[in-house]
Symmetry: C2
Subunit: 814 residues, 2 copies
């Protein structure tokens, strides 16, 4: 199938246009960015939730269903018995025209059939706990058309996990109210909940259903609901079973006439004392108020325009113009857009993350900030504080925290030993972006000493010392349950199915060590030293420098395998990622982190390590995680060896770590190499692979099947991946090389040699820099001239204090 | 809809015949009784598992789906593009004939279309870890018919909970092998699993699919798989995503010709050292052996015949012939059948219990034995030992244990204070059935003192003393987290959604007391005393008698509300189930247990209590749990007040406790009353209510909506309910009054006065009693004459020692 069978980019509108309901997998968008979130596929499948996708899920969605993508915001037309959907599915009617446009925080669906054209626009207005849907229907024929329209959503009974398992209770709890043109979902509101949901339409309805069996029928499907087939709602009131919300709207349109309907799916919290307006009757005032904000076309359009402006402003902060259209599209639109999503949701809710298993990851969330700080620094500031607040005074950290409570997740605990140092990255990055070094003095108590007024800087010191306090037999950092690679479980020895690879501990001693953490310690240890110096803590900086130097020496001594860096030592003291191994001779993570840390840059080992990566790990769609793939399960290694070869951590292309190699290559000055790597794992460069890739072509997926896989290039687990933040960070700060530093913008591009240059607009601490990089000598790296507002300056730093306001910057490479 | 629209009983074959695929809810059967279990609906929906429905689930099933009942063992016909299912669904083709016959451990499906008749017979052979399906297809037309048949099952990736949530991993782990005509599912076999599954057919296949997307298509449904529509398998080999198993069989039948196909869905465990026959190739020997047991019609029929004989033998042990056809049908067939299921599965896996949340309940499993001990006493013996082994030396018990490990479930813990005393009931019942008093000396260590050789009797003493050691301010038993009514949570005070009503403890002190446990203590305390005496422990018996007498006095003093027994005292010392309450003035449980315990039998209070039940709690479909229903949530009472009125514990008809009132009425001698009650909640008496009742008309459901409900009479949560064992126990031992006692059979019927008598055949300790009860004087209770083998005997006990072998017993009431 050619790419055009599925869709294409519309850069002018910042949209991806999907031209068939039948994409290889559902291709989704995210709506909302302020607590109320919605996942919406190209046929309006998906669900909505308030803050926590496990505990406050508004609508029901069935993962991995048959047919795929079952449940969503559906609109059914019945015109003289002919039935179709406004969003292409779930009714599989042949449409005269179908289109889905996923844009920045909104999605639009166009369907034409029987000379009726519908356009559905869906979004979550800014600062609103509701998603709104406007359906505009136009009679394109030359005679009157009378038809019925049926809306449909299915309520989730709030707790998504319980909703999918505890039927002996849940089939008896469902409750609704119907008033005016609004259906209220109030399950468990009678008891401990202070929130309800509603689904409204802004005109009189001719009927409704609130009980699924009445609307759909027991054995009918979403494709042929009984009430739609019969052209008549049953006015059912749900008592238990499965509450839904469906409006019937009977409409007649004259030729050329249009009608607009606005549906609001809202979430409302009510104070305990205000819960009821009468015995058993919920207080609906907040719902009426919420609906009234969007009950006219003018209000709807105003809210949409505010959202558009919001995104336009966000995307103005960094804009690039390079010879690569795919690169521009990624950096200017889709990568930034995905960064907002990963920042908001961590790994909690996607079409592959079920929203009930994982909270906000300490490691993930710190990393997610590096692609997002330039967009909404205040949100990053709050996130860093939330993360730090779950850290212990010994520097260890809960691996996850819960978004509703912001408490660490005790069920998973800590001891993932790379976690703490990521806080240094996010904090340093925040200060470089904002210049707000005072942030280090922000009081954030440790979780275990809530009364002690520790500062954020104390947290960074604790992180740094946590590594030093947890060194193994070779003086390398202990890995704990796992480092960045959750599946490298060197102290666990799991032999029973159904037990956790990460938490089942059977090792005689937990002495396994990680070269990835060693590199990470050196890299972010240097950052920590900078932060010490920034505060005038020279003695602390000196002692930290000593620790970093020692670690470098230790890596030199115990971490080099001859042609690349080792990955780890296992609990028996045996090397992993060594030529001595049968499988897993070379890994990506330690090459990435040791080279990024600068280890071996001066003696050729860094280059040798990356040459080895090129030789052993490179595949068509990116760099695989290790080679050779593990053929058999090895309890001493854990989950990594549980996957079939070529998938996930067992030699899959784990996109998150690919940028590390790209960064490494830029440090070596190999711009062609780095750009080639970047273009392999970035889907926007490969529209021709849409069918093979399967997941959305506009965002990164967590994994692309590697060269050992049965189907190399097939991607899985789209949207929620650290690849998003890292790719943007890499593209802007290492490839284009426009990097915020403590004192200003640092300019150090590393680009394909055949580029003649590029333009880069950067808002930075209130100033705006219009940067023109010229590459007359076709080099990859090196700056001959840096001219700011016509004045040449020395070095490659544009000191912020000297250059506030608007600026024209010319950079000449050579 | 009339009953005949859905189905009818076929007593001669011990089958329920379902005549439409479109029952109000899926109507299912259970296959298997020895570790391998299958749930199978009237259209072959459902799933299979080995021992543990959470950790060893073989096939995937989607609960509460749209359409309802999605996933199963499907067989698709494609004859010249015309497609239908051998089981009525999932293809919604109109059949010329459809029939599903659920029998004892097997189900049979007949479909006719296009003059092709198919008959599918499905069962789990005795002592076999496989389900077998024979599909017989006959050409009833007068010309050759060529068609393709496609089998289909979808594999679950073993851990059902993980399978439904952890997609970021699971979409990459699926693995299969195809060899000969067998599809092997080996996901995770490469690592920690020592088991795989397979699906085979006993002839050459023309094609296969093992990847769901290839067979069904991304957006097609179970009703129209792509490969079936195209008439051609794709020979797909699954790598990750969703592995399935589908055979394509091309068949041509001459007029009148039949063909028989046997499919085996098997589960195999392999020793670690034998796992592989070559690198990456699983050892298939055990699979070939298993298949070969059923690869011919003769073998298939032999295995089915053995199953039929097994059930015939089981149901020979108790057979009744009364004037009530519904009663006979229930006692002789369906209630016993359901008892096997509840014994095997506790509350773990039904179409309402998702199989991932609950293990074997201590309380439930003890009670489930009382309807099953006469069938397979050896299994009950083992179960009692397993249950006792999870008890603590202080008498407390884990509320549940896991079927795979038989370990107590620490996540839920104990402190449900009625749990321990149920062990007295099950043990006493076992000894009365078998005469095996030595069982009391069986060594079963307590869970916390594994080295001490305690006996089973020590466990009963611990149970007894646990009540005495946990008395509250009034001297009544402390309720703990909850007594039998899991939803009466008097010490917890939950105010936040998503926390457990049972385990969130916020009470200032746990002093709430239960009259239900008080009655239970007296009732089973008396049994304990009998067991003491049986062993000659007269002093222990005397002190226990004193404790029981004290409890009776305490109930007299603090447990009587004036017209009925109180239900409880809450943590504040306030009564529950009192005329002083606004809601919940009277409850069923304490009336049932205090009257069954004999409290107030001598002074008219027992009768008054049951008269109050009649006056306040009786509804058309049974006795509701309490009245008035709770209108509002009350944190001092807990979950019971969370349900909408009329549902579940909030004034629903909770069938499990209805027999307690029936027993109580028989103690009062009110045979008409007791039988009337029995006939209300027993669905076999109400075939006219099939449509309203919704759940299967041949088994008990946990709950029937009460009179406060929006839809009274609507049942929920069928199959797995304590109502099964209790109803059978009540019907045989209290209504018909043929009750095993320590020394022999005791005869004490309490029947409707208009019955002229009944016959009762009872196998008992190797003897068989053919009992004819005559009721010439039309009384409900009382025996004038007891004649065994022509010899009148005194009293109502047939001493076993005197009457072994075959016997003719005549009982004359009056």
């Amino acid at each position: 199938m050619s790419a055009s069978n599925f869709g294409h980019f519309d850069d002018a509108n910042k949209e991806f246009v999907i031209t068939t309901p039948y994409t290889p997998l559902p291709w989704i968008n995210y709506l909302g960015n302020n607590g109320f979130y919605a996942l919406i596929s190209n046929t309006a499948g998906g669900y909505s939730f308030y803050r926590d996708p496990k505990f406050r899920r508004l609508t029901r969605y069935r993962y991995n269903n048959v047919p795929m993508d079952s449940g969503g915001r559906y609109f059914y037309f019945n015109l003289d018995g002919d039935i179709w959907s406004a969003t292409g599915r779930p009714v599989d009617a042949k449409l005269d025209h179908y289109e889905c446009r996923h844009g920045m925080g909104y999605s639009r669906f166009i369907a034409e059939k029987n000379q009726l054209r519908s356009e559905l626009t869906s979004f979550v207005p800014l600062n609103t706990t509701a998603e709104v849907h406007r359906l505009q229907i136009t009679n394109q024929g030359d005679s009157d058309k009378s038809f019925s329209l049926f809306s449909f959503i299915e309520w989730c009974l709030w707790n998504a996990e319980d909703d999918g398992t505890n039927f002996q209770r849940n089939l008896s709890t469902g409750e609704v109210e119907v008033e005016s043109n609004t259906i209220f979902h109030k399950t468990e509101y009678r008891e401990r909940r202070n929130h309800y949901a509603f689904y409204s339409v802004n005109r009189e309805m001719q009927g409704f259903d609130t009980d699924r069996q009445h609307f759909i029928g027991t054995y009918n499907s979403f494709a042929n609901p009984q009430a739609v087939q019969q052209g008549k709602s049953t006015n059912s009131v749900a008592h238990g079973w499965s509450p839904i919300a469906s409006h019937q709207l009977d409409i007649t349109l004259a030729p050329g006439e249009s009608q607009s309907l606005i549906f609001v799916l809202g979430y409302v919290e009510v104070e305990e004392s205000q819960k009821w307006q009468a015995q058993g009757i919920i207080n609906k005032q907040p719902a009426w108020q919420l609906q009234n904000q969007f009950n006219t076309d003018a209000k709807f359009e105003q809210a949409l325009s505010e959202l558009n402006q919001y995104w336009a402003n966000l995307l103005e902060r960094i804009k690039v113009d390079t010879p690569s259209e795919s690169f521009n599209r990624s950096v200017n639109i889709w990568n930034q857009y995905q960064n907002m999503v990963t920042f908001n949701l961590s790994r909690s809710a996607s079409f592959y993350e079920s929203g009930i298993g994982r909270g906000m990851g300490f490691r993930d969330s710190n990393q997610d900030t590096i692609g997002f700080t330039h967009m909404v620094p205040s949100a990053v500031r709050e996130r860093i504080i939330d993360l730090a607040a779950t850290q212990q005074s010994d520097g260890s950290a809960y691996h996850q925290y819960q978004p509703l409570t912001k408490k660490g997740n005790a069920a998973i605990g800590g001891n993932f030993n790379d976690d703490p140092m990521w806080l240094v990255l996010s904090t340093a990055n925040y200060i470089k972006e904002t210049g707000d070094a005072n942030f280090l003095q922000q009081v954030v108590p440790f979780e275990d000493t809530p009364e002690v007024p520790n500062t954020l800087f104390d947290h960074l010191s604790a992180s740094f010392n946590h590594v030093l306090n947890n060194l193994g037999p070779h003086g390398l950092p202990l890995i704990g349950r796992a480092d960045w690679n959750d599946c490298l479980n060197l102290n666990c020895f799991s032999t029973e199915p159904n037990e956790s690879y990460q938490t089942t501990q059977r090792g005689p001693s937990d002495v396994a060590e990680s070269l990835m953490i060693a590199g990470q310690f050196v890299l972010y240890g240097k950052e920590y030293i900078e932060l010490c110096k920034l505060q005038g803590k020279t003695e602390l900086a000196a002692s930290a420098q000593q620790a970093v130097d020692t670690m470098i020496a230790t890596v030199d001594k115990h971490g080099w395998d001859g042609e690349w860096f080792l990955r780890a030592y296992d609990s028996r003291g045996l090397p992993i990622g060594s030529h001595k191994n049968d499988d897993g001779k070379i890994f990506i993570e330690s090459q990435g982190f040791c080279v990024m840390a600068g280890i071996g840059l001066d003696d050729g080992r860094a280059q040798q390590a990356l040459d080895s990566v090129n030789q052993h790990l490179l595949a068509e769609h990116g760099v695989v995680l290790q080679q050779p793939a593990f053929a058999d399960y090895n309890k001493f290694y854990g989950e990594i060896t549980s996957y079939p070869p070529g998938y996930k951590e067992n030699a899959g292309i784990f996109t998150h770590n690919n940028p590390w190699i790209v960064v490494g290559e830029t440090l070596l000055g190999r711009g062609d190499q780095s750009f080639d790597y970047f273009s392999r794992f970035t889907p926007l460069f490969r529209p021709q692979d849409m069918a093979k890739h399967k997941t959305e072509p506009y965002v990164y997926s967590q994994m692309i099947a590697g060269k050992d896989a049965a189907i190399p290039g097939e991607a899985k687990n789209s949207w929620l991946t650290g690849a998003a933040a890292w790719s943007f960070y890499t593209a802007t700060q290492y490839i284009l090389g426009i990097a915020p530093d403590y004192q200003g913008l640092r300019i150090n591009p590393c680009i394909p040699a055949d580029w003649s240059g590029f333009n880069f607009t950067r808002q930075y601490r209130g100033a705006t820099y219009h940067i023109e990089v010229q590459n007359p000598h076709k080099v990859s790296k090196g700056i001959k001239q840096l001219i700011v507002d016509g004045n040449p300056i020395e070095g490659n730093l544009i000191p912020f204090d000297d250059y506030q306001g608007q600026h024209k910057v010319v950079v000449v490479m050579g």
